[in-house]
């Protein structure tokens, strides 16, 4: 064993109890956990499809089992019922989005009544099963993802089996649903699938485009099911690794999605430069937006706002706006469309004067700083100060303490009060609770703080009132994530409101006045 290394191989085959102990230091991040959770659900869904059709399949081992195609059909029918809602939501969003497909607008009417030229069996563009194929769909615009090999095989099979009827005239469309981008050895083309209603049933029409020529088709039941399956695959198979976020202008996508290094470009931007560009997040589902920000090393803050033009849960705008260069770890405010649009706008909650908006933004910063500082001098102190926690000692009937070196109680108090004003007595509680003098030596209260509700975000929402030298704000605390909580009964995400005040100093700077730390300290 050399000086720099430590070989912990002996822990590899530890017993279950030791494993639990090691697991306390599990390093997986939220993004990794989400990825694994999505993976587990995907495998689970595949297994369930199999066992529904074949009761006696033993589900164990990691051997990959390739399903017969007909089983997928049955499963798709069942899955459609479940995810139909999600897709419909995405379609609503698509309505407001005309720039994405900017081929010349077709002129004729219903595909069913359009004169057809010929019907062919088999895919008119050749077999795509061995091609490189990407896709985009209503549910996750403006992103493009790789089509997984399983999905591609099924799609190609269906395309080859289905009947394609070429139309001599263009059709006006219902909502476009799924777009496939096929690389075709450097001569790429795209297929846009549309749904339309005819004779009480839904049918599918297809627009082919290679950037120059456009052709129109309708497809039979087999092709329709393939398109539906693609939409579902998009909803469940989305792998963030292969995802490309498209940027405007959305022209010439046929070629653009294959531009080399498109995906690498995104990553390198995030990794090399100290400054990061704020990505385009408007009209993106806010959970997806959060992941994008995290991947770029940016922090976020969510503000819910009512907006009639953006579906609930989607981002209305960001602050700073897209394209702005910001330092890594900067906080980006995501304004997310809230569900209850009418009530909010009636209350005038969303109408904030420019002056107040400035105060609120400044208060938000101070509030976050206050949380951080309060924790720094409280439970997180060993990360910042020289505290000998490994030799902590318990007094008889007293707290467990650790010696603090290199700083005095007065210095600590002074530093703490650089942020916190002494107008409120409770602003002394953190220092008083955590620090003791024992044998003439400064000590820190040592102990396991226990498990906390996980604070996802805080939002200073409005100015409540002002006095000569103090401004009171309303702040919302969102406890909306229970991933860090073990053994909790029926946890529902919740939001609490609280009052927060800043005291204006003689030099016009602000200090924290009334404050309750939303993170237990």
């Amino acid at each position: 064993m050399n000086d720099k290394e430590l070989d912990l191989k002996m822990l590899e085959n530890a017993d279950n109890e030791t494993m639990k102990q090691i697991a306390e230091n599990c390093p997986a991040s939220d993004v990794e956990m989400e990825r694994m959770f999505a993976m587990s659900r995907k495998i689970y869904n595949e297994r369930n499809k199999e066992s529904n059709n074949k009761d006696n399949i033993e589900v164990s081992g990691v051997e990959h089992y390739r399903k017969p195609v007909w089983q997928k059909f049955a499963a798709i029918a069942a899955a459609l019922v479940i995810t139909g809602g999600a897709v419909a939501g995405g379609m609503f969003f698509m309505k407001n989005r005309n720039t994405f497909n900017n081929d010349p607008l077709p002129v004729a009417t219903d595909p069913a009544t359009s004169p057809s030229t010929k019907t062919v069996e088999g895919c008119p563009f050749g077999d795509i099963s061995n091609d490189k194929v990407k896709m985009s769909g209503s549910a996750y615009l403006p992103s493009v993802i790789d089509v997984s090999s399983d999905t591609l095989k099924f799609t190609a099979d269906s395309f080859n089996k289905g009947k394609w009827t070429e139309l001599s005239e263009a059709f006006t469309t219902e909502e476009d649903y799924v777009t496939l981008f096929i690389y075709n050895n450097g001569a790429p083309y795209q297929l846009v699938f549309y749904y339309y209603n005819s004779d009480d049933s839904q049918k599918v029409s297809i627009k082919y485009s290679d950037g120059k020529n456009i052709r129109y088709f309708t497809g039979d039941e087999v092709i329709k099911k393939a398109a539906q399956a693609l939409g579902l695959a998009g909803a469940t198979d989305t792998s963030l690794d292969t995802m490309i976020i498209l940027e405007e202008p959305y022209n010439d996508l046929v070629h653009k999605v294959w531009e080399k290094n498109l995906s690498e470009k995104d990553n390198s931007q995030a990794n090399t430069a100290e400054e990061v560009e704020v990505p385009r997040l408007v009209d993106v589902e806010y959970k997806l937006a959060k992941v994008q920000l995290q991947e770029r090393g940016l922090n976020y803050n969510i503000v819910k706002k009512s907006d009639n033009t953006v579906p609930p849960g989607y981002v209305i705008r960001t602050e700073p706006a897209e394209g702005t260069l910001v330092n890594k770890e900067a906080v980006i405010t995501l304004y997310v469309s809230a569900e209850d649009t009418s009530a909010d706008s009636d209350n005038g909650n969303t109408e904030v004067s420019a002056e107040d908006a400035e105060l609120i933004a400044k208060a938000q910063q101070l509030y976050e700083k206050a949380i951080e500082t309060d924790l720094k001098y409280g439970r997180s102190a060993p990360q910042y100060f020289n505290i000998d926690t490994k030799n902590c000692f318990t007094q008889v009937d007293g707290p467990t303490l650790s010696y603090v070196y290199d700083i005095t109680l007065d210095e600590l108090r002074a530093q703490y009060h650089e942020i916190f004003c002494d107008r409120y007595a409770e602003n002394n509680t953190t220092i008083e609770k955590y620090y003791y003098i024992h044998n003439d030596q400064l000590c820190w209260l040592t102990g396991n703080p226990g498990v906390d509700p996980y604070l996802e975000s805080t939002t200073v929402t409005r100015v409540l009132r002002k006095t000569d030298d103090e401004i009171f704000f309303e702040v919302e605390k969102h406890y909306s994530d229970f991933r860090f909580i073990v053994h909790i009964e029926d946890f529902e995400p919740y939001t609490e409101t609280d009052e927060f005040s800043v005291v204006i100093q003689p030099d016009d700077s602000w200090k924290v006045g009334k404050f309750n730390n939303p993170q237990p300290n």
Binding site: E12, N13, N25, M36, S40, K42
Partner: protein, 188 residues
Amino acid sequence: MTHEEYKKTYKRSKEEAQRRIFSEYFKYVYTIVFSRLRSCASREDIEECVGDVFADVYIYYDSSKAVNDDISGFIGVIARNKAADMYRKLTHQRFTFISVDDEDVPEQEAPENTEADYEKKELRSSLMNCISLLGEPDSTIIMQKYFFMRSSKEIAEKVSLTPEAVRMRCSRALKKLREKLTAMNISL
């Protein structure tokens, strides 16, 4: 999570029910899988294996078998088996029986109550004890760096320090740990 709770949550949302199981046992499963595969698998393989384990666990809950509150023992067995499968797949071992002389094969946990087993357990618990005595955040840094093989940058995010501070603390903590281990006459 009891089966009763699972069913209740399941009625409201299947995903939520599964997420609760996942949250409860994730660290444990990840650690077991990682332990077995850390020498040979990529992170992607490990993540796939973890997903695979949980897929089985969900099915187990679905099938009404999970009547106990704590099924970590059972989950541990699934995790160990899946990881072993993956290990074989990755190291291209075609046969499930393995030579005891083969040095590449990690040792299997010996049957209980043997002397060797007891000694190893003691050694492990002493080691874990020494590491935990380093205090936070040093013990976390040491475990994440040398067992979970994370970079200083990744650890920095977890413990809210800068990567430089992590490196600094890490080398100091390592020195302390070595002193402790030497004092206890443990060599790794």
